[in-house]
Amino acid sequence: MSAPRLRRVVALTLLALAAPLTATPSADSDPLDALLAELAVRRHGHVTFTEVQYLAVLERPLESSGELLYEAPDHLEKRTLSPRPETLVLAHGTLSATRGTRTRTLELAAYPQLAPLLESLRATLAGDRAALERVFNVRLDADRPRWTLHLAPRDPSAARLVKEVLITGEQADLRTVELLQADGDRSLLTIGRELPP
């Protein structure tokens, strides 16, 4: 499996066509606003992903793969298919995790240390600057068409666990989400090919 070949765009053709009609960021506006406005155009997404987690406690990285589903503005689903099925759903601020027949539900607000993981991705996809800035200190490195969002958690209890979330992309498409933990562990989620809706 060649990663570069899978590393493809997420946008749906239909919505990509609609994009220029709704989002016309002016040239002199804030680059972060411009990027988020561009991202916010997408109302729906369905892609594959692969994820690699490097944990010091383990002898080798944990690899997993599956699908990501997104419905604007606040429904994000991560379906891990391999090595073992697991579904994470982030909807309206509630995270539910289903493994096997068991589902656990967590209020994100009650676990500030967990917020960075999915909220970073959801808020970025939704182009929700207010939500991003509520949870993170945000910095944009743009070398158009490629860009990198640096998201550092504001909540002290989250910052004790997570150093930074890096989201990279090209134009309106996300490429990778990388989580750097405070203890040196990290995970890299790479977005793959687009799936039919």
Partner: protein
């Protein structure tokens, strides 16, 4: 004043001071203790225990309304934090993570005794492989961020497994704290350290919550008015009831005192005489409360409520004295001519109330004693003290003219007396028609809590999944170990019933502390070091984990293998300990464990479900019960309480009948059978008419209606006795006596009529029964009086 007068006054002053000191020092309560039986059955004893000090009785449900969800959530979190620092609260939960993390350390420490996943299979190589694989999944998920820290000590994930089992799963959350299902309220559950029956303690807890809320709201919003706090729960109800009863007693007593004073002022045209009229009333109330304090140790709020009723009755004595002796040279003549009649009336009332004293219903017994002491005192003060004071006072207005008018009116009404038989028949028919709905069956009918507050309580309970503690399995055992192991056996059966949908769910103390036997079995299932190391080596094959990293795991297992099972004492001071305390109580040599059962979604348990539940509990118990003195029973507290109430009601009815019989006997002895019947007939008719009227109005008769009827007889017997007395008197006495009866009756009707408008159901019931009853009693007594009295001598 005569020498005897001085002596009487001095004695009166000393006794009054003594009574006052007793009243001041008495303990007052408004909790349910007045309704609790003195000689309970086993079920009632549990009910009593649960109502007094049980888990449910110590819960305060807190709701925050207004503003927006995130403000509410912030205030809820701040409120929880403040309350957790307050020793008045054993436990405060609002669904926030703080509650769980405080528990986590303790759980990690004792995970192998507490996790129900610990079995011998768990530590075979396959078991370990599966468990570690599950934990790796968790590490890869967002929760891994938190779970990671535990991995080397707890690779099989016992700590999180225990936490999962303890979470309250059914409560909705919003912004990280519990909320109502409609999202309009943030919710907290506070468990007080004070018992539910400790109304002062509950009041202090309510005050503490309100203060903490005010501070938290002010700190969070700057505009605290935007948020509202609502409290509910048994303790809150007790506090509210007490305040409500106290407020109404003060307000209504004042109102009826003012109205009666106005009436008497119009009748006497003399302020000093008016003041004197209240002396027997005040003395009676004082003596009544003092007697109850002496006899029962504690005075119930409901009993105090009858201070009002005493105004209505005790005021009569002075009215008779002042109006009837209006034109006489001295009070001595009143004593000779009329005191015997008043005395017999008083004795009649005392007979009626004495019947209440043996009641198992403490509220009723207190009322009986209160009335007896109050009436005797009021009568004695009227007889021995007032006349001594009166000669110094100007004569009161002569009401002979009013009496003569009344006499003419009665004469005109007299032909209607034949219609009374018809009225009696009609009343009988109405009562027969309503025979099935005649008596109140529910203890809650006595509750002074407004309907809106009861509805809020039900809503909060539903949102919080708080057990309304209606259904309980109660285990009694000689020690906590035996109680817990029985609770475990029962839990296993209850789980089956829950899955079958027979019950909605249940709570068990063993969720927080497994029985010593179970803990020991779990600890014994932990393998020895070499064996574990070997299993682990095999288990890790193919997994990205090296055995060397899991050295802390091996150490912890080895430590756990030699650990003793946890006891309730080990849990003290942890949130688990508070949760356990709520469900296990230690009293003397016995331990009682409670397993609250929640009914399936939105309802109650059907009779079939309850019998299934009973069967399950019996099935869980059979082998152990006889030799270890462990018992378990299913309790429907509402049925138990209603049964208790029904028992009281039946008892009140039969005691009242006994009282009536005693009155009849007294009258027969003091007068003659024929006269006794003549005296009792109008009273019986009045009671019959009132009962029919209430039934026709859709009211269900409860204990206080019965008491009201007893009061009709007590007050009315005075009227009937006077008419009986008049039959033997010279003509000239009739108008004045009639006037005194009319004034006394009006005073009674005012005193009780005011009560009829009370929002406290028990007081209202009393007023609605006695006010019309007293009026009818006078009317009927007048109409049924022997004709001879009307004929001029």
């Amino acid at each position: 004043m005569t020498r005897a007068g001085w002596t009487g006054t001095l004695l009166f002053a000393v006794l009054a001071a003594l009574a006052a000191s007793l009243v001041v020092r008495a303990r007052y309560t408004a909790d349910l203790s007045a309704f609790l039986p003195r000689a309970p059955t086993a079920g009632q004893r549990l009910l009593t225990e649960e109502l007094r000090a049980g888990f449910a009785s110590r819960l305060i449900m807190v709701a925050i309304e207004g503003a927006d969800a995130s403000t509410r959530a912030r205030v809820a979190a701040a409120l929880a934090q403040r309350l957790r620092a307050n020793p008045a609260f054993a436990e405060v939960s609002n669904g926030d993570a703080a509650g769980l993390t405080r528990t986590a350390d303790f759980l990690l420490e004792h995970r192998y005794a507490l996790s129900d996943a610990v079995t011998p299979e768990r530590f075979t190589s396959e078991g370990l492989h599966r468990a570690i694989l599950d934990t790796l999944d968790l590490l890869a998920s967002p929760e891994g961020l938190v779970a990671k820290a535990l991995f080397t000590r707890d690779p099989t994930g016992e700590t999180l497994h225990i936490l999962e089992g303890m979470e309250a799963p059914r409560i909705a959350t919003s912004e990280g704290v519990w909320s109502s299902r409609d999202g309009q309220r943030s919710l907290l559950l506070a468990q007080t350290t004070a018992a539910g029956s400790d109304t002062d303690g509950q009041e202090a807890a309510c005050v503490a919550i309100r203060r903490a809320f005010a501070e938290a709201a002010a700190a969070a919003t700057g505009a605290p008015g935007a948020l509202a706090l609502r409290l509910s729960g048994p303790g809150v109800f007790a506090v509210t009831s007490r305040a409500l009863i106290r407020g109404q007693v003060i307000r209504l007593s004042t109102l009826s005192a003012i109205l009666i004073a106005a009436l008497l002022l119009a009748a006497y045209r003399s302020l000093p005489v008016l003041a004197l009229t209240f002396v027997p009333v005040a003395s009676g109330a004082l003596a009544g409360v003092a007697a109850v304090a002496l006899g029962f140790g504690v005075v119930h709020g409901i009993t105090l409520g009858f201070g009002v009723t005493l105004i209505g009755e005790a005021v009569d004595y002075a009215i008779y004295l002042f109006i009837q002796s209006g034109g006489r040279e001295s009070a001595a003549e009143w004593r000779r001519a009329l005191w015997p009649t008043v005395r017999l009336g008083m004795l009649t009332s005392v007979c009626g109330f004495a019947a209440l004293v043996p009641s198992g219903f403490q509220g009723l017994a207190q009322l009986g004693l209160y009335s007896i002491a109050g009436l005797i005192t009021a009568a004695l003060v009227t007889r021995f003290v007032l006349p001594e004071w009166r000669p110094r006072i100007l004569a009161t207005r002569d009401l002979t003219a009013l009496g003569a008018g009344l006499e003419r009116l009665l004469e005109r009404l007299r032909p209607a007396r034949s219609a009374l038989a018809l009225l009696a028949l009609l009343a009988g028919v109405i009562l027969f028609e309503h025979r099935t709905t005649l008596l109140s069956r529910e203890l809650t009918d006595l509750s002074p809590i407004p309907l809106a507050a009861q509805e809020l309580d039900a809503e909060l309970r539903a949102d919080l999944g708080a057990p309304d503690a209606r259904y309980l399995v109660v285990v009694s055992a000689p020690d906590s170990g035996a109680a817990l192991s029985a609770a475990e056996a029962i839990s296993a059966r209850l789980r089956i019933l829950t899955e079958a949908g027979v019950i909605g769910g249940f709570e068990s103390p063993t969720r927080y502390l497994p029985s010593p036997g179970t803990q020991r079995a779990r600890l014994l299932s932990l393998p020895a070091p070499e064996e574990l190391a070997a299993h682990l080596k095999q288990a890790l094959a193919g997994l990205p984990v090296s055995a060397a990293r899991l050295a802390p795991f091996l150490n912890d297992i080895e430590a756990a293998r030699t650990a003793e099972p946890l006891t309730p004492r080990d849990l003290a001071g942890t949130p688990l300990g508070s949760a356990l305390d709520a469900l296990v109580t230690q009293s003397g040599p016995a331990t009682t464990a409670f397993l609250p059962i929640s009914p399936p979604e939105g309802g109650e348990l059907s009779a079939a479900a309850i019998s299934e539940l009973r069967a399950a509990v019996v099935a869980a118990m059979p082998a152990r019960a006889p030799e270890t003195a462990v018992t378990a029973r299913v309790l429907d507290l509402k049925a138990e309480a209603d049964g208790l109430y029904a028992h009281y009601l039946t008892q009140a009815v039969s005691l009242s009948l006994a009282g009536l019989f005693a009155i009849l006997l007294l009258l027969i002895l003091m007068r003659s059978p024929a006269r006794a019947v003549r005296i009792v007939a109008p009273l019986a008719l009045a009671v019959l008419m009132v009962a029919a009227g209430l039934a026709a109005a859709g009211e269900r008769l409860g204990i206080l209606h019965i008491v009201g009827m007893l009061l009709i007889v007590a007050v009315g017997s005075n009227y009937a006795l006077f008419f009986d007395h008049l039959a033997e008197q010279p003509r000239g006495d009739v108008p004045r006596t009639l006037a005194s009866l009319a004034v006394a009756n009006l005073a009674t009707v005012i005193g009780f009529g005011v009560l009829a408008f009370s929002s406290v159901p028990v007081l209202a019931a009393l007023g609605r029964t006695t006010a019309p009853g007293a009026l009818l009693a006078l009317l009927f007594a007048a109409l049924l009086a022997p004709r001879a009295a009307r004929v001029p001598a």
